[in-house]
Symmetry: C2
């Protein structure tokens, strides 16, 4: 019996995740790798100035179009007054930090479960630098994106500090949003 199977027999949930469902999912993906291919989507509509709104609902994954969401999620991008807006919502570079925080957290918790580590508390603080001369085209030598993003993670768990550090390094190498930021990912924009 594998360590994971042994965990599954002893308890149904670790870190709020259904262990048996996780094992079944992994077994299914191993049997048919095409089930691991997902396509996530968003639709966005400009309102005015720095305000625009996204709806997120459907995606393709595990071989089918997902139908689990009764209605779409809706999110509002805005800008603060210093960036010509009226705080209609957080701004896009802030939403990127929310996405990154969430992905690092979920990846950490998921692989903790796979290792049989129970997480008691987990929180993060993120900060990233942007020089707006890049966005504004005032200096071609200034990079328009985040120069760097720093994440401070506070975590309490039933394991050694060494085990946490190993899990954190693994998380950094496997988090989808973290790797979309750390590595170059092609963005293709087409006018239709």
């Amino acid at each position: 019996m594998s360590a994971q199977a042994a965990i599954a027999e002893k308890t149904t949930f670790i870190n709020g995740l259904n262990v048996q469902q996780a094992l079944d999912t992994i077994a299914a993906l191993k049997a048919d790798k095409s089930l691991a291919k997902f396509r996530f989507r968003a639709k966005n509509r400009w309102v005015s100035g720095g305000e625009n709104r996204s709806t997120i609902r459907d995606f393709y994954g595990a071989g089918v179009e997902d139908t689990s969401r009764m209605k779409p999620f809706e999110f509002v991008n805005g800008e603060p007054p210093v960036l010509l807006g009226d705080n209609e919502g957080a701004n896009p570079v802030e939403f990127l930090l929310h996405a990154l925080a969430g992905c690092v957290t979920t990846t950490f918790v998921l692989h903790a479960m796979a290792r049989g580590i129970a997480i008691r508390e987990l929180s993060t603080e993120l900060e990233g630098n942007i020089d707006l001369q890049g966005l504004l085209g005032l200096d071609g030598a200034v990079f328009p994106g985040y120069e760097q993003i720093r994440i401070k993670m506070h975590v309490k768990a039933d394991c050694s500090d060494e085990a946490l550090d190993d899990l954190l390094a693994y998380t950094q190498g496997h988090s989808p949003v973290c790797n979309t930021v750390c590595q170059p990912v092609p963005v293709v924009i087409e006018r239709v």
Copy 2:
């Protein structure tokens, strides 16, 4: 008189943006480049499983700590049932698409204003591919992040198709989130 100054005299708002405020901002940044250095932030707390929550409020920019937001924005990351969640919120890779859509849109509208182009309608549809074998560590050769993100942009504006295509290429080169995705950006994670 520059083209921008001429626009400012004729009209106060283009695309919902205050032209005089934009010109004043750019003049201030040119006079003191340190004002262009911004630091954006988010705090996130794990709830359970794939659910976690971010609060976003303060940031540093234009030489000061911003105090314009009376209360923090709050966002919930979740996962759909097929990814072991209960649709508590959109998931982190979907929030990344919302951030990307918003940033490309705002960058487009901002530089349209600078060129005197009035936008009438603007909407985008985004889709990105992720192979979850990467996240799950099932195949070390599979990239964990988005393999590619495609954006279809529908735009109606008072200018030629050529001018729109030129503006779109400029947008792609100057959007902070787009460049954070397209280019490798360092993410430093530290346990505290």
